[in-house]
Structure formats: C-alpha cells, structure tokens
Symmetry: C2
Subunit: 347 residues, 2 copies
C-alpha cells in the first residue's frame, strides 16, 4: 500500500496539516521542517490517493468550460459526446461541464464565449478555437487570472495554453497516402480539394499526403488544388467544373470539409464509385459516401476520445495539479466500409 500523508506526518514527527501545507507549497512552514517532509515524501514515494482527493473535492466541485464551434458541424458532435462521457465519469467528484457552443470560427463570437465562460465561473476551459492574436491574448489573460485553457482539436501558437489535445494532421495526411498506395492505382492524377489554405490543419494534411507519396517513389501528378472554404456548395461547383475540364483526373483528395459537395459533383460527372475520393473523419456525409462506394477509405481522428481526454486532463490538473502532457495526440483510425459503422466511443 502506498504511503499516505499520515505516514509522512508520523515519520517527520509533525501533524498532517503541516505535511499538507508543504506538499501544496502553501508556505508558513519553517524551512527545515519543509525540507524533512519533502525528503520523506520522496523516500516513501508518496502519491496522493485519487479516491480521497475526489471525495474531498466534492466540497467545491470543479466547473470545466467547453468552447466548440459545434453549431451545424457534426464533427464536434462526437467531441461533445466524449466530453459528456468524461463529465459523467467525473460526476462522482461533482464535476460539471459548462458547454458554450458557437457557430463557425468568427473571432468576436469566440471571444464572447470565453468571456461568458469566465463569468459563469469556469475553473478551466477546453477550447477548439482559432489561432488569431485576439483569441490568444484572451487565453493568456485567462491563464493569468488562474483559469487554465486546453487547446482542443486545433492547435494554437504559444499563448500559455496548458496543453494541446488533438490530432497530428500531417500524420493523417500520410496515412491517406498509404491508403492510396494500397489501392494500387498507377501514376494517379490527383485533384486536391482543400478547405482553406489559411487553415493549418488542412495544409498539413495536404503536405503530409504529398510527402509520403514522394517518399514512396510513387509516380503521381497533382492536376489542381481547389480551395472550397469548407463549403459544400463551393466544393460542388468547383469540383464539377474541374472534373469536366480535367477528365484525366482519376482520384480526389479532400483535405477539409465540403466532401458532400465533392460527392455530388462526382456523381453528376458519372464517376461515382469509379473515381475514388479520399476523405477525412466520419461525419454522416462521409459515411454515406463510404456506403455508396464513393469513398473507399477515410482517416479519422477519434473525436470522441479527444473530447474525453481534454476534459479528463483538465480535471486532473485542477484537482491534483498534475501537469498534462504538452501535446496529447489522438490515434488516427482508418475506416472502410466494413468498419465504419463500428462504435468506437462506447466507454
């Protein structure tokens, strides 16, 4: 059995309260006692008992804010499910989630959401937000005031974030390349449809994809790179036009959203099931295309797990000050027709 505070107190010949103060760096302890206690804690390999921690924490429950651009975006539905699962598993500690769904990536909206969360008394915040100076400043300010923030799903440039929980976009791009290699097309002529060239994740997905193809020594060509702003209509129109203009294309790579539009265009061009579409995530649109045989495989990023992890890490940090890893990278998951309907976020 692990050593307890009581053990340390006994060994050091002081009271439990004193040990507690030392362990929490709360001060008010004379240096030599402090030294002795720390020494003993080390020797006895003291690890706070999480059950006891939790019980005691019930007195002032933790609130975790959750900022997600989830309105109208099914991808984040899964993230929310994961976060709620974490909330449930932490409900014994009185932990509660403060959800703050917003629509899209409007900076002002995100800033407002952050403000609201602080007003509602969030002790910590998990946020999938935009990497712009204003937001970073707001996050820094929150951190100053003792409200830690975990970046969720989209990484932020340095701004005092506690951690990044999300996927490695370059890596998912490489995996998509691996799937293309598996499919054995020779010298594929690619049409790339990206969300936006200003979105870091999309760029990384494209560069990782191309990087891997080059590495493999596979002959291939990129006929065109279309930017659709994550919009299905734009994706539809632009893709259809490109397919007509470049009939030699024989594979589509969709790095961002807009897959539904791409699917429509491919169908209209009479190429459904003939010209493979490589896609990401398993939103309902992607899933439908997989079932139709238009998308042979999709590379997913465990959104459920991301939501779950972010909330859990924040909880641990808030209750036991245990530092989360700087980056927690979700395991990429390959889905094809035969496993896309598998539940992956039961827990």
């Amino acid at each position: 059995m692990a050593a307890t505070i009581k053990d340390i107190a006994a060994a050091a010949g002081v009271s439990r309260g004193t040990v507690d103060r030392v362990l929490h760096g709360r001060g008010g302890v004379c240096p030599e006692v402090k030294e002795r206690v720390l020494q003993l804690a080390e020797e006895l390999e003291y690890r706070p008992n999480r059950a006891a921690l939790g019980l005691a924490a019930l007195k002032k429950p933790v609130r975790i804010g959750l900022l997600l651009p989830s309105e109208g975006n099914p991808f984040f539905g899964e993230v929310i499910r994961g976060a709620k699962a974490a909330e449930k598993s932490l409900s014994d500690y009185g932990t509660a989630l403060l959800p703050e769904p917003v629509r899209g990536y409007d900076t002002a909206g995100h800033l407002r959401a952050l403000r609201l969360l602080e007003e509602r008394g969030a002790d910590g915040v998990c946020a999938a937000t935009v990497d712009v100076p204003e937001v970073r400043a707001a996050i820094s300010a929150l951190a100053e005031r003792g409200v830690p923030v975990i970046a969720l799903n989209s990484e932020l440039s340095p701004c005092g974030c506690l951690s990044y929980v999300g996927c490695d976009y370059r890596q998912t791009g490489r995996i998509a390349a691996g799937l293309l290699l598996l499919m054995g097309l020779d010298a594929p002529r690619l049409l790339i449809v990206t969300g936006s060239k200003r979105v870091r994740g999309h760029n990384e997905r494209v560069s990782g994809f191309l990087e891997r193809l080059r590495e493999a020594g596979k002959p291939f060509s990129v006929l065109e790179e279309i930017e659709c702003e994550d919009d299905d209509e734009a994706a539809y129109a632009l893709t259809l036009e490109a397919l007509r203009r470049l009939p030699q294309a024989d594979c589509l790579y969709v790095a961002g959203a807009g897959v539904q539009g791409v699917g429509r265009a491919v169908r209209e061009a009479g190429l459904l099931g003939k010209e493979p579409i490589l896609a990401f995530d398993d939103t309902p649109a992607v899933r439908a295309l997989v079932h139709e045989g238009a998308v042979p495989a999709t590379v997913c990023q465990s959104p459920f797990e991301q939501g779950y992890r972010a909330v859990k890490l924040m909880f641990r940090y808030l209750t036991s000050r245990s530092e989360p890893p700087k980056r927690w990278i979700a395991t990429p998951v390959i889905k094809i027709r035969e496993n896309i309907d598998e539940g992956d976020g039961s827990r």
Copy 2:
C-alpha cells in the same frame, strides 16, 4: 448533486446503517422500513458515489487474477500491458493484479493456474483460456464459490462466465476482406493459411472473410486452405510447398499465428512485396513484414484495450456489483505501414 445515503436516511427517518443494509440486501430490516427506503432511493435517484466507495474499499483491497497463455506469445504482452494500466489506475483503491502466465493451451496447466489463483486469494479472475469441458467446469465451480470469471480474448461456451471481453473474429475477417477489395486485385487466387480448424476464432476469421468477398460479388478462388497449428516452422514448410505447387496464387490470407513462417516462405519463393499477405494483429513479426511491404495491411483487435477493460469491469463488479455487459467487443483497428508504429495504448 446526487442524493447520498445520508439524504435517504434523513428522509426515511432511520440511520445510515439501516439504509446501507437495505441497499445491500443484507437483511435484518423490517419489511416496511425496507420498502420505504427502497422507495426513497428510487425517488431521489440514489447512485453510490464511486470515490467514497473506493475510499472505503481501501480497507480490504480487491485482488484480480489474470490467467493468460502469454509465455512466448507476444500478442498477450499487450493484453498484460493493458491489464497493468488498469491496475495502476485502480491502485488508489488498493486493487492488485495476480498474474498467472502459462505457456500455450494445455488444459492441465490452465486448470492448475485457476487453482493457484484461488489459493492466492483472487476475488475475481480474468482468463484467456480454452473452451473445453474441464476448464468450463472449473470456472463454474469458481463462480459457485463466489469467484466470478471474465473470459478474455477467447470466448467460452456457457459456463457461468460473467462476461466476454474480446474481439468479434468474424468481423475482423470481414474487414480483411474489405482491405482486399480495396486493393483492387481482380479475381484474386487465394491461399489461406489458418492456425487450426479446431480454433473457433480462426474459423470465424476465414468464414467472415469469404462471406464478405461473396457479398461484394467479387470473383475470387481459394486454391487451398493450409493448417499450420500456429507454428512458424510448419507454416513455412507448408506455405513454401504450396507456393511452388500453385504458382498462380496471388494473395495469402493468414488467419492465425505463423505469419513469420509464411513471410519466410514468400521471401524464399521470391515473392516478397509482390504477393500480398493479409494478416492479423500487430505482433513484432507482423510489424516487420508490414515494414518490408510484404503485409500491406493487418487487422488488429486492441489487445491493450482488452486487458484494460477486463480488469476494470471485474473491479466494478467486485466493488459495486455493477453487472458488466455480457459481451464487450474490442474495436477492430486497421493498420498499414503509415500507422503501425503509432502508440495506441497510452492512457
């Protein structure tokens, strides 16, 4: 905040001890009080607090036996890692694992291991064992004596097992078929190498595979089905012979162990990287073949997760009498060269 025993006691006008007795069906409570308490518990939606449960459980820690044919079998190494991770996460409750590694599937050895675990005071057992009458009888007997057993990785015919934690072999076979379809060979001529036709999991992997190919309307033929008894040497010799005799074969399907032997045979036949080998799990042997390009894809069954889950479910059952699901099926995971070195069992 959820209702506590104290709340119920106050509402019912009795003491906490009485409520506790009712809630645990320990008897010694007059019917009308019992009725009232149960009623109140229902109304107030009483849910025992797991943190408190854990704290109190520290007084008599739970021991969970773990019977695995892990000696010399790297697959089970991952299962053990998962189980140990669960043990660690439960160490705050004083839970300890009693590992009992055995070599292979020798019935007598497994029976002995079960006996040992009981002697060492296991409160519950997770076992990857063989589905034979003697073992089933031993498990029934254990259950009678109040030691529940969870079948891990290999399902058992009904014998009073608490639950099955493992994969759906048929399903993994179907996924392997999906990968073959993806690879776009036309009319593949298959050589099937199975472990043993007496092993349920292997049979299901083969039948699921063929079933899916038929469903897809894919023309294909099975040139031969080789049985290698999960032995690399046998697999090597038999495969090599078959490859020479049946040069028209253009794809190998390895349903059980012995992949290493198959790989050697393929190399010796000068077909490495030319003739795809579909395999299962990601043991070091499979991993090496994936890196060499001999195995384009392998279907894995989250062994880490299986070990983790089994222990967690047993713990919950032992401490809060919460019934685990009858079957907990691991998510199948597709691995290709680009994601096979990904950690998947961090936690």
